[in-house]
């Protein structure tokens, strides 16, 4: 009953999406006010219908309705209830429905805020979003409906959720990541609406800014959660693998970061107009490309969904219509835009231009590394893989350079900056950062790379605080009132930049200061790693709700004192006959102890990973700071003003 209701309401929502994609545009061309005003109710009804569809699927999961193929494949009576809910987005069909739901959520948010936009812009934005909705809804309905039934003989029990996904991280990671991915469709819609109306002045940048900042914040959090999940769940203690699917989320983040900065320039100075529009399209395209790579099976990855050529062709068609269409529109319409305002080479515009160039280059290098195996294969040169060393070698120097400039940008003034205003703080910052970093590296015995990276981190910290302090101490009002007066936007930026620093420090220290060893240990054995003594106490057999577990116990000592007791597990999921490693962690601000059981090599002995990871938490702490910065910027008061009635 509920599956049919879900299917029906999705079909209905497709019709509303179609009307949303067409009516306001017709209204715009005919100058019909009434048609334009249909956009808002159409959006809200469409979203409600998709929500009904989503809830129907949730009910099918919660009631163990295994006559629904998707439920039968991804759930099981023994699955704990919270995983039954997260199993809804555990595989292709459901996650696509979830994607559409979030897309509708963003559409509704725009619809509810439509009064902050001029009367002829809002409906067009919604119409563009409607086109995107049509694309994804038809993809969902025509190739991957989650409501397909297996009748008449439905299985008694389901095939269970992939054990990799039976984890807290995977309950929260996809929703947040999708919020980010899909959120960029709003910026895209603004850009395309600007191209359609030919109204490419600075105001569209101001409307798009909070939306972009919000989706950027979600994407940042999503990537952070994904990295954290991979660290503790995949069982080998890496926090970033340069896996195609990770890159798929990272590329929109990079170009979204560029977009965030270029929107600021366009809003404030009215320059880079057509570049900003292009970036908005580019960022959304990368989100779509990510979806394509994950769902079409053209690249191998630990996270990708099962391959299906039909879906691949459909989503490629979607890509061609949405991206190709908007790029064509861009090529035709952007020629009319000319920046009339000029900018100086010493002004903030120039620094942000540099930021944009570097971020775009970074995006392209990641894109190239991700797609290179495909290119190679298409040209018939053989099957290859591009490993993490490529990405590390290319990404790190450019990213460090970017961070060097990142600190200078805020210090500069729009249009023109006097050399002295930059020279003094820069000299101070160079002296401080080089000496502090050299001291640290000398004391701890790190190499050149660590020295450079830590110096860059110090440099950003010094310049950021210098900038804040000079802004606060100017004028006569006193420090605290001045500090309060600075816009949220500014604090958002400060927070995000410092978040980058925290992440950088984490990355550097975890790379140069960690100790990792793979050992063959039997209960009773001891091993010393990075000054910590690990004793392998025992292994016991336990039974979980849908798995059997071998649970190890390790006690860690430092200088004879007990520091932690760790319980790594090896879980055997009975339905899927799959083994999962649950690493045991003792998390700390400056170091993590990480123990995971590998395979059992004989009656007694186990292969065991024992790691002491230095400052690894900082990587995600930085991510959280960046997210907070993004949200703060999105909530800046300036964006809440209503548009004047036209």
């Amino acid at each position: 009953m509920f599956p049919e209701l879900g299917q029906f309401s999705l079909i209905l929502s497709l019709f509303f999406a179609l009307s949303l994609a067409v009516l306001p545009l017709v209204g715009y061309w005919k100058g019909n006010r009434l048609l334009l005003e249909t956009a808002r109710p159409l959006t809200l009804i469409m979203s409600m219908l998709v929500l009904v569809g989503f809830i129907s699927l949730c009910i099918a999961f919660l009631s163990d309705d295994f006559s629904v193929l998707y439920v039968a494949q991804n759930s099981n009576t023994q699955l704990p209830i919270w995983y039954k809910v997260s199993a809804v987005w555990g595989s292709h069909e459901g996650s696509l429905l979830f994607w559409v739901l979030i897309l509708c959520g963003w559409c509704s948010a725009v619809a509810l805020k439509i009064r902050t936009l001029p009367a002829d812009v809002g409906p067009i934005v919604l119409a563009v979003l409607g086109i995107v909705c049509v694309g994804f809804l038809s993809f969902l309905l025509f190739t991957s409906s989650p409501f397909v039934r297996i009748l008449p003989d439905a299985p008694l029990d389901g095939g269970d959720l992939n054990p990799l996904l039976q984890d807290f991280g995977l309950i929260v990671h996809p929703p947040v990541l999708y919020m980010g991915y899909v959120g960029f469709s709003v910026a895209f819609a603004f850009a395309v609406a600007a191209l359609i109306t030919g109204n490419l002045n600075a105001s569209w940048a101001r409307w798009a800014r909070p939306w972009t900042a919000a989706s950027w914040a979600f994407l940042t959090l999503g990537i952070t959660l994904g990295s954290w999940w991979a660290y503790y769940e995949l069982g080998w203690g890496g926090w970033w693998f340069w896996d195609p699917v990770e890159n798929a989320s990272f590329m929109p983040w990079l170009s979204g970061t560029a977009l965030l900065h270029s929107l600021a320039v366009t809003e404030k100075r009215g320059v880079f107009k057509s570049w900003t529009v292009l970036l908005a399209i580019f960022t959304f395209s990368l989100s779509l490309l990510g979806a394509f790579l994950v769902r079409s099976g053209v690249l191998t990855s630990v996270h990708s969904f099962a391959a299906d050529p039909t879906r691949g062709v459909f989503i490629l068609g979607l890509l061609i219509v949405l991206i190709g269409g908007s790029l064509l529109l861009y090529a035709i319409r952007a020629a009319q835009v000319r920046s009339t305002v000029s900018f100086g080479l010493s002004g903030r515009e120039a620094w942000l231009l540099l930021n944009n160039i570097l971020l775009t280059v970074l995006t392209l290098t990641v894109l190239l590394g991700t797609l290179y195996p495909l290119l190679f294969d298409v040209l018939g040169l053989g099957k290859i893989s591009v490993g993490a060393p490529y990405f590390n070698a290319v990404f790190s120097p450019i990213a460090l350079l970017l961070m060097v400039f990142m600190a200078v940008g805020p210090l500069s003034r729009w249009h023109q900056t006097s050399a002295n205003a930059l020279l003094v703080p820069c000299v101070i910052a160079v002296l401080v950062s080089v000496s502090v970093s050299a001291g640290l590296v000398y004391l701890l015995g790190f190499g050149v790379t660590a020295f450079i990276s830590l110096a860059v981190a110090m440099w950003v910290v010094v310049l950021s605080f210098y900038d804040w302090f000079s802004k606060v101490s100017a004028g006569t009002k006193g420090i605290i009132p001045r500090a309060r007066q600075l816009p949220r936007n500014y604090y958002g930026m400060l927070l995000a930049h410092l978040g980058m620093v925290v992440t950088l420090v984490g990355i550097v220290l975890v790379t140069v200061n960690s100790e990792e060893s793979m050992l063959r240990l039997s209960p009773g054995d001891q091993a010393t790693v990075a000054g910590y003594e690990f004793r392998f106490d025992r292994v016991e057999q336990l039974k979980g709700p849908n798995y059997l577990s071998s649970k190890g116990q390790f006690t860690a000592y430092k200088e004879g004192k007990q520091v932690a007791v760790l319980y790594p597990e090896k879980r055997f999921f009975t339905t899927r006959q799959q083994v999962m490693t649950e690493a045991a962690l003792d998390a700390g601000f400056t170091r993590d102890l990480y123990v995971s059981l590998g395979e059992r090599v004989d009656e007694q002995a186990w292969g065991v990973r024992v790691y002491v990871k230095s400052f690894v938490r900082w990587i995600w702490l930085g991510g959280l700071l960046m997210m907070a910065g993004g949200l703060l910027a999105a909530l800046d008061k300036r964006y809440r003003k209503r548009a004047r009635a036209i």
Partner: protein, 154 residues
């Protein structure tokens, strides 16, 4: 030169400079870090280079996994049903490693024809279930039946 022109020139030169150094960096890194894939048949016919980092893969031959009793050293054969090759590895094999399962190893060929792996990856296909799943499914079903039975007997 006109100041506007000059400024544009500077910007273009800066962009070109950054782009060309990035391209150089990318080319260099790609040359160092791409790994070609070879099947056991290709390796048997001598197509694979020695000492270079490559990837090789196939299905793990049943009964070929041998472990060293003291260390984590392990060796096993993989096959593409035409030729087999031996892979040696020091470390912990992935959870999905199993006899009869497809794997991909990264490493290099040694002079004695053995592949020395630095990394072993096992892939799990989600599209269709391994036969063993059936038994589990049946077990789960029978368990469910017994649960209801015992519930009835109370």
């Amino acid at each position: 030169m006109h100041p506007l022109r000059r400024k544009r020139l500077i910007i273009i030169i800066a962009i070109l400079l950054i782009l060309s150094s990035a391209v150089g960096l990318v080319m260099f890194a790609l040359q160092q870090n791409i790994n070609l894939f070879f099947s056991p048949t290709q390796i048997a016919s001598g197509e694979a280079p020695q000492q270079a980092t490559i990837r090789a893969g196939g299905v793990v031959v049943e009964g070929s996994v041998k472990r060293d009793p003291q260390t984590l050293y392990v060796s096993f054969d993989v096959t593409d049903y035409q030729y087999s090759m031996t892979i040696e590895y020091l470390g912990i094999l992935p959870d999905l490693f199993r006899e009869g399962q497809g794997i991909v190893a990264q490493g290099s060929m040694m002079a004695n024809g053995v592949f020395k792996a630095t990394q072993v990856l096992a892939k799990h296909d989600e599209e269709y279930m391994a036969p063993e799943v059936s038994d589990a499914l049946k077990n789960a079903q029978s368990k469910r039946v017994t649960v209801t039975e015992s519930a009835l007997s109370y």
